[in-house]
């Protein structure tokens, strides 16, 4: 089912993607702002302060298509008389534009579709607000706008891509932490960068969503992380739920048949 990579174009425009190199992120949130501006996403006016470092957005959602995570880690001082140091991890999260996209697989209306760039986009005029994609996404990305009923998420700036522009977040990122381009090229670049960081002794450095063999067939938007995925609020080993769908339909057919057989049995020799 999902192994057909639903809708993935085999010819034409090469697949586009994001490589987010978190080792370069300075937590400026320019991407969050540029995304909101370009896509005219409603502001969150609640102005809650979470107390979670500099993060008051907390997660991706219907009105947050780029989200910058802030993690403060204690670094024990080597000299016992000194104070412990603090290490910062910052990362700009986004929809992964999965190769096997659960959201797209389960959407009953066809509102979610695969674009010619290999990205995953919601057609807002078709979405009926059923919310199935919300429960299907293994990354907890897509969400419903309560007052509207429909779902929203990153489009990788579908309108800009069509005009040959890069997405707003990549354009706004001052450190090239967010890189946009052809996925194959980004993967090569990421491999080289990982090697460089490992040579420098960054042992925690790892690529996330880079592997086309992983549970979602690789992400169209992948990351270089400096710690384990869950530290950033990412699932360590996500699997597209529809991978098990053929097995589930078989079990359901078995259950339906048992129901019919059981019903035949209850009439067997029954008294009147």
């Amino acid at each position: 089912m999902s192994t057909t990579q639903l809708g993935m174009p085999t010819i034409g425009v090469p697949r586009k993607g994001f490589f987010t190199d978190t080792s370069l992120c300075i937590g400026c949130k320019a991407c969050e702002v540029a995304c909101k501006e370009w896509n005219q996403i409603p502001a969150d006016t609640s102005l809650k302060l979470t107390g979670e470092s500099f993060d008051n957005t907390s997660s991706l959602g219907a009105d947050t298509w780029r989200h910058v995570a802030f993690i403060e880690q204690k670094v024990p001082a080597t000299d016992p008389s000194a104070h412990d140091g603090v290490k910062w991890l910052m990362s700009s999260d986004v929809c992964k534009h999965c190769t096997h996209a659960a959201c797209l697989d389960v959407c009953p209306t066809g509102a979610l579709f695969r674009t010619e760039h290999g990205t995953v986009v919601v057609q807002q005029d078709v979405c009926n607000g059923c919310g199935y994609c919300v429960s299907a996404c293994p990354y907890g990305v897509i969400d419903q706008r309560k007052e509207d009923g429909r779902v929203f998420k990153c489009t990788m700036c579908y309108d800009r891509l069509g005009a040959g522009e890069e997405p707003a977040c990549a354009k706004a990122c001052p450190t090239k932490s967010i890189q946009y381009g052809e996925l194959d090229e980004l993967r090569e670049r990421a491999d080289a960068r990982l090697e460089e960081l490992h040579e420098r002794g960054e042992e925690g450095a790892q690529l996330y969503g880079r592997d086309p063999e992983d549970g979602v067939g690789g992400d169209g938007a992948f990351f270089l992380l400096l710690d384990e995925p869950e530290t950033y609020g990412l699932p360590p080993d996500p699997i597209v739920t529809t991978r098990d769908l053929p097995a589930m339909w078989k079990r359901a057919a078995g259950a339906a048949a048992s129901l019919l057989a059981g019903a035949a049995l209850v009439f067997w020799g029954a008294r009147k």
Binding site: M1, S2, T50, S58, S59, G61, A69, I71, A102, D105, V106, P108, T109, G110, A111, C127, N128, G129, C130, Y132, V134, S135, A136, C137, P138, G140, I142, D143, Q144, D148, R150, E228, E230, G233, P235, P236, D237, P238, T241, T242, D244, L245, M248, R251, A252, G254, A255, A256, A257, L259, L260, G262, A263, A264, L265, V266, F267, A270, R271, K272
Partner: protein, 312 residues
């Protein structure tokens, strides 16, 4: 369940925040929809049996139950869409990868058949066609009663997905219990033996299978014991067992016992769906149900890879 113990000790997360989004569905709409769909589907099966074994009282009550339940379930479904006017978009496409799309088509086959056979029965018209529709409703009804398990399991919601192998059987037996129970409550006692048997058999299977899911050893199965879901599922068992025992002992001899016990079994079935629904919701709120099993899976894979290396 000892394998669970100590599994969550070293687990990091982002400020303890959930990784998954909580389902947007309302319990009353979706768990209610699943219950009503199961009741309708299994009632149609019962009605088909009744129409061919000459049990007119049972036939009529089961057909009317099916029609009422499927109407209620469609109302719940439409209500749950944030934009009900867009319900028709569901029939824009037929997508085998989407259980909701498949379900919409199953419903649009089943609904008219259940309606037609009930109408023919009540109005006393087109007896032949009415019976044929009754058979069709029974067969498609078996799909209505079970596809909802795939609907829930085909998500990233840990409790639902982890139960994907057993859930269709849990829902099928629970559907049988509810249809049998309601028919035992509504149909004439003299014709009600098949209904009572269906209620008792369904109840027994429902209990056995749902306990098997609860004891599966999956970390997410914890959510079936705790909080609101735990309460709902314990209540469900009490109603189901109490009702089934009542039907077995006094279902044949007493109208009152048959009615009360039948209703209790049906209530147990409804509580089961609400319990599973709530447990799934709870499993999306705590990141441990995502992180811990996925970490274990990764570790197992790495171990296997190392093992393969040393072998070579």
């Amino acid at each position: 369940m000892s394998p669970r113990r100590g599994r969550t000790e070293e687990f990091t997360s982002y400020y303890g925040r959930p990784i998954l989004k909580e389902p947007t569905w309302q319990a009353l709409d979706i768990a209610g929809y699943i219950f009503a769909g199961g009741l309708a589907g299994a009632s149609s099966i019962l009605a088909a049996g009744a129409q061919h074994t000459d049990r007119p009282g049972l036939e009529r009550s089961a057909k009317l139950t099916a029609l009422a339940a499927i109407s209620a379930s469609v109302v719940a479904l439409v209500h749950d869409l944030g934009r009900p006017e867009r319900f028709v978009n569901m029939l824009r496409v037929a997508k085998p990868t989407s259980p909701m799309s498949v379900g919409s088509w199953i419903l649009s086959a089943y609904g008219p058949l259940a309606g037609a056979t009930a109408a023919a029965n009540v109005l006393g018209i087109f007896p032949r066609a009415g019976k044929a529709a009754g058979i069709g409703a029974g067969i498609t009804g078996s799909a209505v009663a079970t596809y909802t398990a795939v609907l829930l399991a085909d998500t990233a919601v840990p409790t639902w997905h982890d139960a994907h192998e057993r859930l269709p059987f849990v829902f099928a037996s629970s559907a049988a219990a509810s249809a049998g129970g309601l028919a035992a409550a509504l149909a004439p006692i003299a014709q009600g033996q098949p209904a009572r048997r269906m209620a008792i058999g369904g109840a027994a299977a429902e209990i056995a299978l749902s306990v098997a899911v609860e004891r599966s050893g999956n970390l997410s199965a914890e959510t079936l014991h705790e909080g609101r879901a735990g309460v709902l599922l314990r209540l469900s068992k009490a109603f189901t067992v109490g009702g089934a025992v009542g039907l077995a002992l006094g279902g044949r001899s007493s109208r009152g016992v048959s009615t009360l016990s039948g209703l209790a079994v049906a209530a147990g079935s409804a509580l089961l769906r609400f319990g599973f629904f709530e447990a799934g919701r709870a499993s999306t709120r705590d990141p441990k149900y995502v992180v811990v099993p996925q970490r274990e899976r990764l570790a197992a894979r790495q171990e296997a890879a190392v093992g393969a290396d040393t072998m070579g």
